[in-house]
């Protein structure tokens, strides 16, 4: 591997701005948007019936604007350089900003170091998580009263759609983006991902997607929720084009991320890292990546049809034109149900990875845990029509989907069994990451059991589309994903950033979050039982006390997140107490490396000769960092 020398010595800021980086990307994105818009407006003939007749509100112009804008953004970041160099006959290299030379500047440009991409992901996804969280606060503000009072009906639905789309779209990669990119090479003993440029591409595509979604505010918003049901979407203003463009970019990013992680885990394992020695977190990544690779193409098909409906007037979803409203529902949920497991499964992996460390025991039932996660991944492709139980699909299908949906609780139960049995006779240390893992079990238990009610057709008749289902998926996704993200940030964060987090603030964060989360979402089950449908700006006035309670507790969640944010900024930017050694006493390979982890991770490739959880056995079985060769 040849490293290209990068000019020595710091350059002045204005010199750095010239070149391939985020700022050039933004500039070229704006240029691309203008070009796309200009081309699109050539198509806006008044004879075309369905197009919006407004100046500057032409669907073709908006979609082409996004397309050219994203291309401009990627070119500005330098993604075109390598393919062009190769086409001109230059030898293959892997040098983009991998060396230490450019310091913090690496974070604002195309960087193929998997640790840099992971931190980019962490901050990038975090920003959108905060925006979506603000949306949630605004939604709850509107629901303080049973009638519209702060935001209008349009703005409320836009908020609901933005909250859902941003959380589901951007946070899909919240574990795989930052954690898997950072951890997988270190855990399997590789110096990099299989496709480092694709790794960087997934991050920048996701950021482009987030910005595309935000532009919907200027285009009238989209009043369809994150599911974007058609033909309601066909009626939407150009704000709905932002939704389509957003999910298309997210879908491509997800597909590439899953593909890259699978390829890495299959091909880049160090000597001795057999499949049965793979840390269980990596198995969670395998299961999730498998879904990420196979589910989004369905979504992309649906999005393409939506785009064609809105530009070429194909009428895929218009019944009067021979289309079907089921088409979107089916395609969306063929993607959408694996998607919710894409969100949940990494959490399984994180919890099972952390429990052995804090219980000081090997993972109990390793094979069962792996089978559980793969089983969930496989089954999740066969359950999507439970979202359509009352929609009037072929009635004969419902018993099958009822069975397949409930069957998912069997492999999910494996995860619980392994978690519980790992704790049995352990030496449990109640650190903040451990508390988050225990909270995960509580949240996911409630989420899972409420899911049984939704998977059963007679019960689903009442709970479907109500606040009950809303509470259910917040328990599984927020309680399942967000809690495990925090567990991982508190656990691996110090290793990733090199600085220790303030533990007192972390404890305040955990307890306030856990308490407020349950006080917020448990009453929502009751609201659903009492007949409150989802996504409504008004509700019966007798539901106001409960709704006010939920809103106030939701503000508590918001404050708790501010504590976390303060802790993150304070610990990593201001106080900067360096991490020393291996504070958790973990036997994972990533903790045996120096802090900060060197650019090339390993001086020599490690050789594995034992399973990944050698707790309670002779210390000789620790993964050997020395010995063996490249």
């Amino acid at each position: 591997m040849t490293a290209i020398a990068i000019s020595a010595g710091p350059r002045p800021v204005w010199r750095r701005l010239i070149g391939f980086n985020m700022f050039t990307g933004i500039l070229l994105a704006i240029v691309g948007w203008l070009i796309g818009n200009w081309i699109g407006n050539r198509f806006n003939q008044p004879s075309v019936v369905y197009y919006s007749t407004e100046a500057g509100a032409n669907d073709i112009a908006v979609l082409l604007g996004y397309l050219f804008g994203v291309i401009g953004f990627l070119v500005g970041l330098g993604f075109a350089n390598y393919p062009i160099r190769r086409m001109l006959g230059h030898p293959p290299t892997l040098a983009e900003h991998e060396s230490e030379g450019e310091g913090a500047w690496r974070y604002f440009s195309l960087c193929t170091d998997h640790k840099v991409v992971a931190l980019q992901y962490l901050v990038g996804v975090g920003i959108f998580f905060l925006i979506a969280g603000i949306n949630a606060m605004l939604i709850r503000t509107e629901l303080l009263q049973p009638n519209v009072h702060v935001f209008g009906a349009n703005q409320y639905l836009s908020l609901v759609g933005m909250h859902g789309a941003m959380m589901m779209g951007m946070l899909t990669s919240a574990v795989l983006g930052p954690l898997a990119n950072w951890l997988v090479p270190l855990m399997i003993g590789s110096r990099r991902m299989a496709f480092p440029r694709i790794e960087a591409l997934t991050f920048w595509l996701l950021m482009a997607a987030g910005v595309v979604l935000l532009t919907t505010i200027f285009l009238g918003g989209f009043q369809t929720g994150w599911t974007g049901y058609q033909p309601l979407g066909d009626q939407g203003t150009t704000g709905y084009d932002a939704y389509l463009g957003f999910f298309a970019l997210v879908g491509i990013s997800m597909c590439l991320l899953g593909f890259n992680l699978l390829a890495t885990i299959i091909t880049m394992r160090a000597p001795g890292m057999t499949w049965s020695r793979l840390p269980v977190f990596c198995w969670g990544v395998v299961a999730t990546s498998f879904l990420m690779l196979l589910a989004p193409p369905m979504l992309l098909a649906a999005l393409l049809m939506g785009m064609l409906d809105r530009t070429a007037q194909t009428g895929f979803f218009i019944a009067s034109n021979g289309g079907s409203a089921y088409l979107w529902q089916n395609l969306f949920w063929v993607f959408g149900h694996p998607e919710v497991y894409i969100v949940a499964l990494p959490g399984f992996g994180v919890v099972l990875e952390l429990l052995p460390v804090f219980c000081r025991k090997p993972l109990w039932g390793y094979r069962l845990a792996v089978a559980g996660m793969l089983g969930v991944a496989l089954l999740s492709f066969f359950v999507w029509q439970h979202h359509l139980f009352v929609s009037g699909i072929d009635a004969d299908l419902r018993p099958f989907y009822m069975l397949s949906t409930e069957l998912i609780s069997v492999p999910t139960g494996f995860t619980f069994l392994c978690a519980m049995a790992t704790m049995w006779r352990g030496r449990i240390r109640f650190t903040v990451p451990m508390w988050f893992c225990i909270a995960w079990a509580w949240n996911f238990l409630i989420g899972g059991i409420s899911g049984v009610l939704l998977s059963d057709v007679p019960s689903d008749v009442t709970t479907h589309g109500s606040f009950f289902s809303m509470a259910h998926f917040h328990y599984t996704i927020m309680g399942g994903l967000v809690f495990t993200i925090f567990a991982s940030i508190y656990y691996w964060g110090p290793k990733m950033t090199g600085y220790v987090f303030n533990e007192r603030l972390a404890k305040i964060h955990f307890w306030s979050l856990f308490l407020m989360f349950n006080l917020t979402f448990a009453p929502l089950f009751a609201l659903g039982f009492m007949g409150m449908p989802r996504r409504v700006v008004t509700y019966a006035s007798n539901l106001q006390p409960l709704n006010d309670w939920v809103s106030i507790c939701a503000y508590g969640i918001g404050l708790s997140m501010l504590v976390f944010l303060f802790n993150l900024v304070y610990s990593t930017l201001i106080k900067r107490e360096p991490l020393v050694g291996n504070p958790w006493g973990s036997k994972g390979l990533e903790w045996q490396l120096p802090t900060p982890v060197p650019v090339h991770d390993f001086d020599r490739f490690p050789v594995f000769d034992a399973d990944p959880y050698p707790y309670g056995v002779e210390p000789t079985a620790e993964p050997a960092l020395t010995g063996g060769g490249d």
């Binding site: 369905y50 197009y51 919006s52 007749t53 407004e54 925006i131 603000i134 605004l138 009638n147 519209v148 702060v150 935001f151 209008g152 009906a153 349009n154 703005q155 836009s158 908020l159 505010i217 009238g220 009043q223 033909p231 066909d234 009626q235 939407g236 203003t237 409906d309 218009i318 009067s320 900024v569 930017l573 201001i574 900067r576």
Partner: protein, 226 residues
């Protein structure tokens, strides 16, 4: 060395404070964007003859409106002047209200012909250009003034395509071709009610249903009964 570390820390502290202030500003702007577009309100006029509300419907809003091509309701004076782009109407509770609508738009036709019969008005009918009417030809409907929560629904007939002096963008004058629809109804108790149009009248959107039909401030609004 010690001083370097301290000055570095101070720099980062200032940086964090500046970043916090900046993000608060950005968040404020972001929230502010959702607070826009509150539809203006207009009150019914009280006269010796009772409470009157005068409205107008036009094929296109004013030229300098955010959406100059969208159909819209307006609040006007009795003589058809003083056009205000308002779709929240304040009405007194438990009283008889007389609504007069000057309708300048052409016909579109209804998706559900059922709505071509007036409901919920006094006598279940309305005056179309001074003539008592109950139903109109569903294909000639231009707009509907409906408050579903009050059971109120009145069809507004379209100006024929043969009109000599049609109105385009608001504001229009009573000299231009229009239909005058008048009806009376009893307001219920206090509360916020929504009204809407039921005719797929949004030009440029699929099935005529999008844009102005889905945006409060054009073909949708509130009745605030106070």
């Amino acid at each position: 060395m010690e001083r370097d570390a301290q000055s570095g820390r101070a720099r980062r502290l200032y940086g964090a404070i500046v970043a916090t202030v900046l993000s608060c500003v950005v968040v404020g702007l972001y929230i502010g964007m959702y607070l826009t577009n509150a539809s203006a309100s207009a009150s019914a006029t009280q006269a010796s003859s009772g409470t009157h509300l005068y409205l107008a419907t036009v094929p296109a809003a004013e030229v300098n409106d955010n959406h100059p091509t969208w159909v819209s309701y307006y609040a006007v004076n009795a003589d058809g002047s003083n056009w205000r782009h308002a779709t929240t109407y304040d009405l007194p509770a438990n009283s008889l209200v007389t609504v007069t609508i000057y309708q300048y738009d052409g016909d579109s036709g209804l998706r559900n012909p059922f709505i071509s019969q007036s409901q919920g008005t006094v006598g279940n009918d309305f005056m179309l250009n001074g003539k008592p009417t109950q139903t109109i030809d569903p294909d000639t409907a231009s707009h509907i003034f409906a408050v579903p929560q009050m059971g109120l629904s009145v069809p507004l007939q379209g100006v024929p395509d043969t009109a000599k002096n049609p109105c385009g963008n608001a504001p229009c004058t009573l000299k231009q071709d229009h239909e005058t629809i008048t009806f009376q109804f009893h307001t219920p108790g206090r509360g916020l009610y929504r009204w809407q149009c039921f005719v797929p009248c949004a030009a440029g959107f699929i099935a005529g249903w999008g844009g102005p039909m889905q945006t409060v401030g054009y073909m949708d609004g509130y009745i605030k009964v106070v």
